[in-house]
Structure formats: C-alpha cells, structure tokens
Symmetry: C2
Subunit: 387 residues, 2 copies
Amino acid sequence: MREVAVIGVGQTRFGKRRDASLSELAVDALREALIDAGIENREVKFLSVGNFGLSSEDITPAVIAAEQVGMHGAALMRCEAACASGSAAFYAAWMAVSSGLYDLAVALGVEKMTEVETPTMIEILGRAGSYFWEFHDFGLTFPAYYALYATAHMKKFGTTEEDLALVAVKNHKYGARNPKAQFQNEITVEDVLSSRMIAWPLKLYDCCPISDGAAAVVLASKDKVRELGIDAPVWVKGVGVSSDTSTMGNRPDFLGLRSSREASKIAYKMARVEPKDIEVAEVHDCFTIAEILAYEDLGFCKKGEGAKLIRQGETEIGGRIPVNVDGGLKAKGHPLGATGISMIAELTKQLREEVEPNRQAPLRRYLALAHNVGGTGQYCYVTILGR
Amino acid sequence: MREVAVIGVGQTRFGKRRDASLSELAVDALREALIDAGIENREVKFLSVGNFGLSSEDITPAVIAAEQVGMHGAALMRCEAACASGSAAFYAAWMAVSSGLYDLAVALGVEKMTEVETPTMIEILGRAGSYFWEFHDFGLTFPAYYALYATAHMKKFGTTEEDLALVAVKNHKYGARNPKAQFQNEITVEDVLSSRMIAWPLKLYDCCPISDGAAAVVLASKDKVRELGIDAPVWVKGVGVSSDTSTMGNRPDFLGLRSSREASKIAYKMARVEPKDIEVAEVHDCFTIAEILAYEDLGFCKKGEGAKLIRQGETEIGGRIPVNVDGGLKAKGHPLGATGISMIAELTKQLREEVEPNRQAPLRRYLALAHNVGGTGQYCYVTILGR
C-alpha cells in the first residue's frame, strides 16, 4: 500500500443554508479544497461523494457535484454509510490512491437536510435504525436510541445529566470560535438542563442540529506530493472501519459502541500508535452521551471514566486530549454526508496549525484522530492523521 | 497494485420477487457466493453493497445485508452510481483487495424495485437525469432520454426499428435459456414492433423491466487464491470508470456514450487487450438502442455499424462476439444495484464454462468484458475478466 497525504481541504459554513443548493454547497467546498491543494479540477480523475440522501430532490448528488465543478469524466461513485457517509467517501478515495490506481483523488461530503420539514427528517433518521422492528413497531427515534445508551451508562457508571450537559457546553464554547460552525454561541449547563426534553435524559441541547453543508479533501500519493513540492503534508497514518447490527436488542450492552472499539483498534494498529499518542481528536458527538462513549471506546480513558474526563476539563484545549475543538457535531453542525470529511479537514488544519488561535490544540507529536459513526454504531470509521 | 481474482459468485433469480424481502435476496446471493468460493462468512472483513435505494423501506441496506449473513463487524459501505451501483460496489471491493488492505472482499448488489408502484418507480428513475431541467421542466423520463439517442442514431446511420427489435429478440432468446432470468420466453420482431409505444421509437419490448434481485461476488488476492488452493481462477484484468454530465443538452451528440468510450479505453489499457480480444460480453442494454451504442462505444465495431452487427448475428453465440447471452438487462432483468455484480457473476461462470450449455460462449483466449452504465452515461464502469 502506498502512503497517502491530505494536500487540500475545504468546507462551507454549516447551518440552515437556504442560500445555497446542494450543488452550490458542493462546489464551494470543492473549490476551496482544490485551491488549498494548488491543483486544477481537470487533474482530478477520481471523485467519491459522501451523501446520505433522502432529504434532497437531487438523487444523483455525485453527478451534479462532479459536473458543477468541472470534474465529469472522472471515476465517480457515491458512498453511503448513514451518518458516516463522508468517511466512507474518504475511505474510497484513500483506497484509490493507496492502491496505486490514482495519484490524486478527491473526497467530497455534502448534505442538504433542511429542504424537508424537521419531523420528516426525524422519521428518515429513525429509519436508519432497525426499521421493521425497533423503529416501526416500537417507535424508537434517533435520540431514543442514544437515550438507551445514556441511561445504561448513568446506571452503571454514575454518569449524570450535568456530565452530559458539560459536553454541550464545551462544544458550544469552541463552536463560538469557529466561523464555519452552525451555532456560534456559548451556552451554560443550566441552558442545557432547562432545554426541552427530547428522550430522557437527552434534552434539546444534548442533540446535534439538522444541517446543510459540504466539505472536501484532496488526497495525493507520495510521488504527487513531491511533484507538487509540498513540504510536510498531513499523512493518513491509519484507517479502521467496522460495523455492527442495527438491532439494539441484539447488542451485548448499551455501555459503548463495539464498532468504535474495533475500528479504532484497526486504525491504531495500522498507524502504530496508541490512544495516548493522539493530541487532538474529532469524535462523533451526535448526542452528548456519544462523545462520552467515544472517549472510552477510543481508549482516551478506561470504560466508565468518560464523564470524569469531561468534568476535569481533560478534553478541552490545555487538557490531556482536546476533543471537538471546532464545535463538534453539536455546535459545528451535522450535515450527514459532510461530517466525516469535515473532521478530516479540521484535523488537517489543526495539524498545520492554521485554525483560529483560540481553538488551536497544542501539538508535539502531531497526531490526530477522527471518529465518525453511522447510525448508532452500524458503521464506524476511524482515521489517524499525522504530520 | 495486487492482482485480484473472482473466486466465488452468486445470484438470485431476477423478477418480481414478492416472495423475498431485500435482505432475503441479499442473503441468498451472498450465501451462494460464499459456498462457491468455499469460504465462511466470518472470514470476510470487507463488504461493499451496491444499491440505488429509494424504492425500499430499508434505507440502510448494507447494514441489514451484513447482519443477515453474519458479516457485521466487517468494513462496510454502500456504493451508489445509479444503474451502475453494483459495479461501484465491485470497484470498491476490488480496490480493497488490490490496495493490499484486505485479502478477501465481497461485493453485493441488491435492489427491491417492485415494492413501489410502477409510475412512482418511473418517476424516481427519471430523476436520475438532469432533475431540475430536463426531467422536471421538460418531462423527460428514462425511456425518453434513450429515445433521443435512438432517433439520432437512426437519422445518422440508418438504424431501423427492426434493428432495435432484433436486440430484444436475441436477448429474450438467451433469457429463455437462463433459469435466473426474469423473462424466459422467446419473442419475435413482430412482437416487439407491435408492443405498446413508450417513447418513439422505443416500444415496451425495447425496454428492460423493473426487477428485484441480488448478486454477489467474492474477491481474493493472489496469496489468498494460493492459500485456498484454487486452480485457474478468474482474474480481474482491467477496470475503467468514467462519468458524464446528466444534462442531455450539454452533450456533444446523441450518437454514443462518451463515458462508455472513456471507461473502456482505461480498462483495455489496464488489461493490455483490445476489443477484438474479447470473447464474451455483458453490456448495458437498458433499452435496445443502448446495446447497439455499446457495440460501437466498446469498439466491437466502428461507430455507426452497431446495427449491422446485430443484423448479421455477430453478437449471438457462433458470431464474432456473443453479447448478453444470459438475457441481458432486457430479459434477465435489471434490479439496479444487482445488475453490475450479476454481469461479473455471469462472466465468471462463462469463463469457467459453467453456464447452461446452450448459452455457453466458445472460448479460446478466455477474455470477457462487463459494461455497466449509470443513468444515460452519467456513470460507466467497464471490467475485463480473464482466466
């Protein structure tokens, strides 16, 4: 396998983007990534597009994105892995370069979720679970799936509603420093606790929003990096993928995500690093409990000690392992197909020390980790980047 | 890049499969492919699933398929490339093995299209074109897109309605010999010409049906082939992918598909073979005109001479290059996500000389080609197999 570098990244502002169509969002992200990489659209012969779909009238998003940015003719596919669709597209583009097939590849993630009414979107998302049983017959929606994890974690490990709130508070704090975040306002624990109940113990502010947005990354082989004269690019050190049943009733417990543990194990092994080596991370905080589970499943702390990490400020800048210092899904937003690519884009900028100074993680070993979950762990993609 | 072999294939019967759910179809194809390869489900660590979606209530088909067949935990993604979704999944699995990431990978294609009413399905398919302009504003449906190609070809090259009908007659002839085909009845030119007009000059019998079905292939690295003791497997010799605008008005002409020409050029180059070396082919005959275009775009004859090929029987068994001798999309059926994988499955069996004797292509060099188009050439995947 050939080494692969991230040589360009781009991302639109996330949020309710009534001002831009799906293809306009795609083009904005793609153009930024191409300029960042210093390459022309015509040089790109492989494009993968992460998009969950079902919320936009455009049912061939890869085709329209490729056309709008002048890449039609390229090898093209759409990748879907529920909320990890962006990471699946990244994985495909990474394989295209690491296999030796292409010297340049672009992965784009894009989602337009606010075109449909919110209750419809909630229904669509709920169907990403076990459709025939747990969604249809028992009425579980997405917040309810994660509420099962929250209550189990609270019962077993003493995690509290305040602990969950702290995750939202932290992520809003950094979202307020990120001009591309959907929510750029700070909030308090009290704001979270007094927000509308969604699925106990998860309240409105424990949940990520419904978002529009796009992100893109340009990948290159080592030869291409040299040819372009890029110094110290960001390298893809390890990628791990795993999956799990969508049927909650078939899972061994609700204390963590098996696919997160498996995917990170594969990625750590490939990168030859350990959890303690990671200096900044993006984790999948679709709900506050999900971030706490991720701390544990990724090995940033022992199982059951996730709440302690957030309580002690260890996942803020200045702590042991800054997490989601771009606002995370919670405050930056979660346009499904874009999220995984946006994580890679953010970490690339972190490793280049190019983000806003008040949210830049201090680096010594220059190692970062992205963790993107599809559904409630039906998919998990973990990527380790280094410089 | 590592060499990759097809070591197992499986396919369900295509058709109106009211007797089987999406996951049951998936499981039937997967199980057959695993048995054919002589491996266990637990050995598979990479699964890609080709599925167009939008016609089934299951919106995470990759997850349910993986779970049903006992592969959850594997690296997993769904690939979509409109009617070439199966080939996109094949491409992803091929990259997973050729890159050195996995020694075994499975590509599954599955589609359940008959759950929705036919007019709704026709609308969904039409939206795979240029949605906002040519579908929505001008009312072009999928048969109408291809009718533009048919009329242009007739005007420029003198291709006739009878020539188009001959494609349907040939493909039904072989469908009648394929127990997995949706239509197993022979038809006459008169049947085609007198069938209901859909979009002039295309009549009902010029169009492929709406189908349910699944197909799966197991891919392995050279090392794995040796380890399993497989003699003379079928090798993936070359793969080419290209794409094109979905806006008909932006295409240079309607005489052929640019993406077919580009994709096949890449595949021929990788396989180091020429069109004349191919001894049996599966081409994307979603409409009869599409097969004639494919003859020309793939280089089986010169541009404009496709009709001559079918008239002279050159694409039947005994002719120069037998095409779609499993019935093709026209008679075997076209469950979108399954089609591309089914082509690889059929050609693998052809190269192993394992199909029904009355539709076995005579082989000397053992080279086969699969051509799978998404939309009206928005995507094209070409795969060359050899033994």
